[in-house]
Symmetry: C2
Subunit: 183 residues, 2 copies
DNA sequence: CCCGGTTGTGCAACTAGTTGCAAAAACGGG
DNA sequence: CCCGTTTTTGCAACTAGTTGCACAACCGGG
């Protein structure tokens, strides 16, 4: 149940309309919490009904008309509560690892190509993160906000680094495997 | 849509009843694809209806009576197909990173304790994986199956290593932060 | 031999996220 | 100033996963 809090965070950072939120989720926030515009609209409705956010003055609400929201004190309080509350870590659930285990019993034919493709995608993502780091976090900045945001980006970079390394390792192993056990 | 394939993999490895599957998901398979017993029973029903698995002879089906399943050729073929087919990588979605970003706007109060708790949990998990590695993958084994399974375990170990490192880094940063901006 | 706990199977209802589409407003060229 | 396109909002239906509970069979002690 994190989407409402993702939205609250985004709105505290800057009041926005549904579409603006969608765009921000596509860029920065989506790097660690993705959401579609329908999810966002639905959630905005709920949050407004619960009194955590409110529509900014503007025109009366109607379809096709921009409607911006801002966070109310109750929303900010809820966000602070949620941030500090202990959360269970959700168990890992990764398709590629599952496929590798499946390959152990039905054969590895065809898997290697997708391993290679994933490696490329992760390399691209890693490069993108590193670019952001260079651009937005030059050495020497140290406001609390900057440090925290940098920490988050760091996690992204390290995660992608892990995947690229692991995929390379997997591909190296594949190269050494006997030519394949037929399924 | 990976649960059916997780179950097929498990059943190819060894035909089992719903409960046995549940237990195996709790131990080894659940390390990278968790599932509850209800999910498993429902899926077993679907897979049987689709003709990918079948109930082993045994007694006639009834509540409270063990019913084991085995994979049919069609099931094995579907598993091989799925394993080799290209898959999109699903976007990262991590609550802790979101909370850190939220903390950047509502304050870090309380977060540190949970960071510490998570570090402990990940350390425990890492230790467990390393124990398994020592026990099940002594150097020198090199059947294809062993190598692939080891690769999967390796991913688990490296992931947990990443998290413990990152969390330690985050805690170190926290220690340097000004005493807290009130929300 | 029966009665209470344990094992094993399963339904129903719910929450979260995804996909496909529609419809009102605003925008811009002829 | 009107008509087609784009922008922005939103509903409805679907898929995947979770939670809570029910119920049959089986097992062991009094």
């Amino acid at each position: 149940m994190s989407l409402p809090h993702a939205i609250l965070t985004a709105l505290v950072e800057k009041p926005s309309s549904g579409l603006e939120l969608t765009r921000r989720f596509d860029k920065s926030i989506g790097y660690f919490w993705s959401a579609t515009h329908q999810q966002i609209y639905r959630e905005l409705g709920k949050l407004e009904a619960e009194g955590l956010i409110r529509a900014l003055p503007g025109r009366q609400p109607a379809r096709g008309q921009k409607k911006s929201y801002e966070v109310l004190p109750a929303g900010r309080a809820e966000l602070a509560r949620w941030t500090a509350a202990p959360h269970d870590l959700k168990p890992l659930r990764d398709t590629m690892l599952l496929r590798l285990r499946a390959a152990a019993v039905v054969g590895t034919a065809g898997l290697e190509a997708d391993l290679r493709r994933h490696l490329e995608l992760h390399e691209r993502q890693l490069a993108e993160y590193e670019e952001i780091e260079e651009r937005d976090f030059p050495p020497g900045r140290d406001s609390t906000e900057d440090r925290l945001r940098h920490l988050v980006l760091r996690a992204g970079i390290d995660l992608e680094t892990f995947w690229t390394r692991w995929l390379r390792h997997a591909l190296a192993e594949f190269a050494e495997l006997p030519d394949d056990e037929p399924a």
